[in-house]
Amino acid sequence: MTEPAALSVHSLSVSFSGRPILKDVQFEVAGGEFCALIGANGSGKTTLLKAILGLVRPQSGEVRIEAGAGVARIGYVPQKISIDPYLPLRSRDVVALGLDGARWGWLRRSAAREARVQEMLEAVGAVDFADRRVGQLSGGQQQRVLIAHALVRRPRLLLLDEPLANLDVRSTAEIVALLRRLSVQYRTAVLLSAHDMNPLLPVIDRIVYLASCCAVSGKADEVIRTEVLSRLYGYHVDVVRVHGRVVVIAAHEPEEIRAALARDPVHTAQVP
């Protein structure tokens, strides 16, 4: 990548009341790159994203956003939020709030604003439900609206916190494809967190892997290898190619379940 880094994180450490969450995390995301932030539950993915947004104060290290971009130029889609079905906001209103919803004062309307909102709704395929209350949409539809909300100011960096959680296979595929297209179309670097990397393998340029509070990052084809992933996970992982697609399989899953069953006191009491 010849472009300057859209995001660089330098030896970032965050701890909450003495407990280290992130330790010496270091990686870069180049302009326009599509990057997956992978890690188990509780590995600090959300904390890392919040540190990048400036909502969490790091103990040490720094986060640099591309010069001239500034924190205001980051788009953000939060982790699954539950929206009240009675909230009087249509998809269109949510996208419009993406333009200047943080500023004081009354909502202003203008033809130029409405054109930008309409264009964004078209880009994410949300025109069909643009005039419905956002709280009444399905999870996949809400995700599209929130992506439009995040992108309407054309940020150079888009952060998404577990955007694929709670989506079925089809919606997952649609959202992944949409994000990849938008990333290319708007030349926006994307950093999205997920605990399962499989649906993302066809589109990602780079992986940041969070494990036991430190991060490893690399080009996707350098990281998605049996020996690299096995070392990161701390147990054997197979990277296999079937029908022209790459799949990551944790071979230990059946053993993990057996071990968990053996540890479960109720289960051991019932089964001799």
Binding site: V71, D84, L87, V94, G101, Q136, N166
Partner: protein
């Protein structure tokens, strides 16, 4: 006889207590409806009710001291609202508990002050006025202050309008976007204190919740954009208040010698509006509200 007199009885508008009730009532209804829409959207209905109950301590203290009850309601409600925002309890369950405890303390102090009032003997009727309102006994001298309070509350809401909408969608999202979420919350809480104080002056501290939550809840049943929700809530609250005043005035003729309380009619009309709003939303063929899987 003008046709209008079939609805508006003769002498209605010439009567000074009625005029005062109409002006103060309209102000309370408009501000309560506007603030109420956001209070409901933020899921703070219980906090709104608690604030009103706590403010009754100020109202009853004002009766005891002989100052304007509006000042009493205002002072205590604003203090309580500031304290609630300052404490900044994020956990919903804990916030409910803290709110509930505060509500109890406020009403307990009210009970003491009202009791002291009855011993003094100078404030008979204070209990009813503070808790359930007494619109036809509002002194005309209060009108400028009431209009000022209403104006400040509406301007405050206009200033925080966009961040309020954004943070009712998601506080996380608003914060990430750089919205001043805490400042917005504080201004909303103070506007809530102003709305509740005005409403307490008209329908009483306990019933002020009806004026705050009722019109907003009815409007949110069918309005699908913020501006319309606000307009409908204002229309419902205002119409119910003036309708209630009119009916209460008429009730002097139904049961000669004593009229029915205005607060009862206002609350009844708001309840009817809420039921009608449910009908307006009802569509026979559409499935029930679809929640994301």
């Amino acid at each position: 006889m003008y046709p209008l007199e079939l609805i508006v009885p003769p002498g209605f508008l010439a009567n000074e207590p009625v005029r005062t009730a109409l002006i103060v009532g309209a102000g309370a209804a408009i501000v309560s409806a506007v603030v109420g829409v956001f209070t409901v959207m933020r899921g703070q209905s219980f906090a709104g009710h608690a604030l009103a109950d706590v403010s009754s301590a100020g109202g009853s203290a004002a009766f005891l001291l002989g100052i304007s009850p509006l000042l009493g309601f205002l002072g205590v409600a604003a203090l309580a609202a500031g304290a609630m925002e300052w404490a900044d309890v994020r956990d919903a369950r804990e916030r409910d508990l803290v709110t509930g405890v505060m509500l109890g303390v406020g009403l307990g102090v009210t009970a003491l002050l009202l009791y002291l009032g009855t011993i003094q003997g100078s404030t008979s009727g204070a209990a009813i006025a503070v808790l359930f309102g007494s619109m036809f006994t509002i002194p005309a001298s209060i009108v400028p202050l009431a209009i000022g309070v209403a104006g400040v509350a509406l301007v405050a809401i206009a200033v925080i309008y966009r961040p309020l909408l954004l943070s009712s969608l998601s506080a996380d999202l608003a914060q990430a976007r750089g919205a001043r979420v805490r400042r917005t919350g504080l201004v909303h809480a103070l506007a809530l204190a102003l709305a509740v104080s005005l409403a307490a002056m008209t329908v009483g501290a306990i019933l002020s919740t009806a004026l705050l939550i009722g019109p907003a809840a009815a409007a949110l049943r069918f309005a699908d954009r913020p501006g319309r929700a606000l307009a409908w809530a204002v229309a419902i609250g205002w119409a119910a208040t003036w309708g209630g005043i009119l009916l209460a005035y008429d009730s002097f003729y139904w049961t000669p010698g004593h009229g029915w309380p205005v607060s009862f009619f206002i609350v009844a009309l708001i309840f009817i509006a809420y039921l009608l709003a449910g009908l307006a939303r009802w569509r026979p063929r559409q499935p029930a509200l679809r929640r994301p899987a």
